[in-house]
């Protein structure tokens, strides 16, 4: 069978490449360098157990971070204390969570410095 394998994305992320973090922080929607594209592909393809998603609260205006259920048929979890008025901020929030999960390094919560 033709299946998607979330474990197939195995590009090694270098914890010291903070230049890529800065590149993403400046422009979460890109365009991105080749190296950052690879980092993002690793993160996006693999996701995490109960993948992060962005729930549309008000189209074009407000979004809330959410998590998919572990199995089909479950409820989507709403992270009500993570509401965004710019989806780029949500991209940053998930990027920093994934960066920490993969590299063990903590990134600042704020996108703009």
């Amino acid at each position: 069978m033709l299946e998607n394998d979330p474990n197939a994305a195995h590009y090694p992320i270098d914890p010291d490449r903070l230049d890529l973090v800065e590149e993403f922080r400046r422009a979460p929607k890109g365009p991105h360098s080749d190296a950052l594209q690879k980092v993002l592909h690793r993160m996006r393809w693999a996701g995490e157990p109960r993948r992060y998603v962005l729930i549309v609260i008000e189209p074009g205006r407000r979004w809330m971070l959410g998590r998919l259920p572990e199995r089909r048929g479950g409820q989507i979890e709403r992270l009500a204390d993570h509401v965004f008025t710019d989806p780029a901020d949500a991209e940053w929030e998930v990027f920093r969570r994934r960066w920490q999960a993969i590299t063990g390094r903590v990134l600042p919560a704020e996108r703009t410095v």
Binding site: N4, P6, P31, L40, W45, G66, Q75
Partner: protein, 748 residues
């Protein structure tokens, strides 16, 4: 957040003409009442950057408050054989079949049963929680079980059988693996003590791939649905040994002269329908419920042919799923006879209320009003791409598939509808999804709520197409709606009354009668505007008799979210091959000059004019557009008119010799990813930043008898029409071409 799911419903049929009656089937788990209003849809997109939700109320006889009730949905397919004296009066007997389980473990699944769960009596052959065959017989008080010693393997054929030997006082299960290599052999038999006599239940149907609950519809009549294929099930009035069971099941035509043969179902008969045929002579024919997949390869399929029409005896299997759904079977809550003076269009029931928490409810139930059957009311027809809407109906890709975030190049956006779908899989899947056993969904039906075919739905297909309707309303250009299914049923007759026919943002799914109709229309002087991308791509069929049902088999190429199983890529509805039209000798380029080349989900692009656009032949199209003007460097879908899915011209795929390449968007970035059929081998340099074949082309060509075709080759096109108060060059080019196409003067 507006609640769009507190009340849901579907209209039946999906499309009606004035004077005809449409019924509305509604359900709410939480609301006792709502306000109902029939609306004509102008724009279905809630995006505040665009025109917003725009509807008008024609004022209907059914407008007003409506009482609501909860109508559950019971998914899961099975075959039901009506009870008979022979089935009810069995003494010693054997049931056997070939079985191909596709999701084992975790829960019980019934292979065959004449069982009443309410009274706990009858017999049933199951796969238990650990994938062991399990036979149970019971008479309401006493119960006998026998369980096979070895668990079955997923996706391996096995002979599975049960015997009840009242004479000998035993019950037994028997299994024999067809492949016995590499640790696959699960052959074995188990025997246990059984009764000398038993009282079977009365008035109980025999069910294959599920068991009876003892309840009647609208309650759940069956449960414990099977995920897997069953081939050649037989019922025999004697307790057979393993050798005779094997011979009985294996025989393609067991002799109906044998009085002990009670039933021998041949699933290769009447594959296009919903009846299963019994060869025994006792007419234990059955009815299939909720559309399990037919034309499935049987245990004897040897690969000599990939089509059930050539070797039907190798297609005696049906693939059942616990999440199949074809018809919710809800009662009609309202009926509406469409008044004669209502203009054709996209319509919907608008249902409004407030939840107990004070949240506003705004939910829509879509339907389509076509022109009166005897006449057109405008020179322009817009095609409602109902085949495509059905193909995508209730897509759960963003919930289930890990590719979606990578493809989307950003976090997956989840609407309120998606939140509801996540927890309510009973609404059924789209043909993009895979069943709970991982197999592809090949059928879709409109007899269920479809959350992404209505105002406020997710932005693709239906919602995107309403940007075209919105623009036509803004321009004051009248139109009729013709649905895909009208074209499939009526052929070119459905298009003939119109000087111009527009296919919208993504007319991706086409049946052979639909393609024939468009070719005939174009070549009889018709003018066809294709204002979308990735059109005319998949070969599908509408069900030959049942309305509102389509089938696609994904085959082994194309941008596909699942791949068809070997040998299972022929349509069960018609016996035709499925897959891409490009693989069927009729690439989209032949019909509309351009065909799908790439997906672009990171950012949309603009077109630039090419040399042909300055030819006097097309001067009409570019009035008011400068020679160096970027066309469509704006739009609601990722900032450009060329994006999402894009098409290019190619003479080798059928773009006609007189085609004029007017403009192209060939500066697509690294997010432009070519579809698999666009390259021979994998190699670097395939993406849009390096590959000029990743592009959207705008083309024009004349057909015969004064007809013409204009195509824009991008899904994002229609969503750029309203930019800057509709005063923009996408709107201008579209309007210039449409006005010339509406002009009866023939093209050369």
């Amino acid at each position: 957040m507006i609640d769009t799911t507190a009340v849901l419903g579907y209209a039946w049929p999906m499309a009606v003409a004035p004077g005809e009656t449409v019924s509305f089937h509604l359900s709410s788990e939480t609301l006792a009442e709502a306000q109902l209003r029939v609306v004509r849809v102008r724009c279905a997109d809630a995006d505040p950057a665009g025109p917003g939700i725009r509807t008008t109320g024609p004022s209907s006889a059914i407008d007003g408050p409506i009482d609501l009730s909860h109508q559950p949905i019971h998914p899961g397919s099975c075959a039901v054989v009506a009870d008979s004296a022979q089935l009810a009066g069995l003494g010693d007997f054997t049931f056997g079949c070939y079985l191909f389980p596709t999701l084992i473990g975790g829960r019980r699944q019934t292979i065959a049963a004449r069982w009443n769960e309410l009274r706990e009596c009858g017999w049933k052959l199951e796969l238990d929680e650990e994938a062991h065959l399990l036979l149970t017989i019971a008479d309401g008080g006493r119960r006998w079980n026998v369980r096979a010693p070895k668990p079955l393997l997923e996706r391996e054929w096995v002979l599975a059988a049960a015997t009840v030997d009242l004479t000998g006082g035993t019950v037994a299960v028997h299994q024999a693996s067809l492949a016995r290599d590499g640790g696959r052999d699960r052959t074995g038999t188990a025997t246990a003590a059984g009764p000398a006599a038993i009282a079977w239940p009365t008035a109980t149907p025999l069910v294959l791939a599920a068991q009876g609950t003892g309840l009647d519809k609208p309650l759940r009549a069956t449960s414990h649905h099977l995920n897997g294929k069953i081939d050649r099930p037989r019922l025999y009035a004697a307790a057979l040994d393993a050798g005779r069971i094997g011979a009985l099941v294996d025989a393609l035509n067991p002799p109906n002269t044998d009085p002990a043969l009670i039933a021998a179902w041949d699933f290769s008969r009447d594959i296009g329908g919903d009846t299963i045929r019994d060869l025994s002579g006792h007419r234990h024919d059955g009815i299939l419920h909720q559309l399990p997949m037919r034309a499935a390869t049987g245990a004897n399929w040897d690969g000599r042919s990939n089509s059930w029409t050539e070797v039907p005896w190798q297609y005696g299997a049906i693939h059942f799923h616990d999440d199949d759904i074809a018809d919710c079977g809800w009662k009609a809550d309202r009926k509406l006879t469409v008044p004669a003076d209502w203009p054709s269009g996209f319509y919907a029931l608008e249902l409004t209320a407030a939840t107990g928490e004070g949240v506003s409810v705004e939910s829509y139930v879509p339907f389509f009003v076509r022109a009166p059957r005897d006449r057109a009311t405008a020179p322009l027809a817009v095609v409602a791409s109902t085949a495509t809407f059905l193909a995508y109906a209730n897509s759960c890709l963003r919930l289930d598939q890990s590719h979606f975030e990578a493809m989307n190049e950003g976090l997956v956006l989840i609407s309120g509808d998606d939140c509801y779908l996540s927890a309510h899989r009973e609404l059924g899947l789209s043909t993009y999804d895979t069943h709970s056993d991982g197999s592809g969904v090949c059928y879709s039906s409109g007899a269920r709520p479809i959350l992404n075919m209505r105002p406020r739905g997710n932005t693709f297909n239906y919602v995107n197409d309403t940007h075209l309707l919105d623009w036509l309303e803004e321009q004051g250009i009248p139109y009729d709606i013709v649905t895909d299914e009208d074209i499939d049923r009526e052929g070119a007759r459905a298009l003939k009354p119109y000087r111009v026919v527009i296919t919208g943002s993504h007319p991706e799914y086409f049946s052979r009668p639909m393609l024939d109709a468009f070719e005939t229309y174009q070549n009889a002087g018709g003018r066809h505007m294709y204002l979308g991308g990735n059109g005319f791509y998949w070969r599908i069929a509408f069900h030959p008799t049942a309305p509102g049902r389509i089938e696609v088999r994904r085959g082994i190429t194309g941008t596909r979210t699942w791949e068809g199983e070997a040998g299972e890529n022929t349509l069960s509805f018609t016996g035709e091959p499925s897959g891409l039209w490009r693989s069927n000798g009729r690439p989209p380029q032949r019909l509309v000059g351009v065909g799908f080349d790439a997906q672009v989900f990171d950012r949309s692009a603009a077109y630039r004019r090419l040399g042909d656009s300055f030819d006097p032949r097309v001067a009409f199209a570019f009035e008011g557009i400068g020679p160096d003007e970027a066309i469509g460097d704006f739009g609601l879908r990722l900032g450009g008119a060329a994006g999402l899915e894009i098409d290019r011209a190619d003479a080798t795929l059928g773009s006609p010799p007189n085609l004029m390449l007017l403009a192209t968007a060939d500066r697509i970035g690294a997010g432009g990813l070519p579809t698999t059929e666009e390259f021979r081998t994998t190699h670097r340099g395939l993406t849009g930043d390096q590959n000029a074949r990743v592009r959207a082309d705008i083309v024009f060509f004349e057909t015969s008898q004064g007809g013409a075709v204009f195509a824009t080759g991008s899904i994002a096109w229609c969503c750029a029409l309203s930019h800057d108060g509709y005063d923009n060059n996408v709107s201008r080019l579209t309007g210039n071409v449409l006005r010339r196409f509406l002009d009866p003067r023939p093209f050369d």
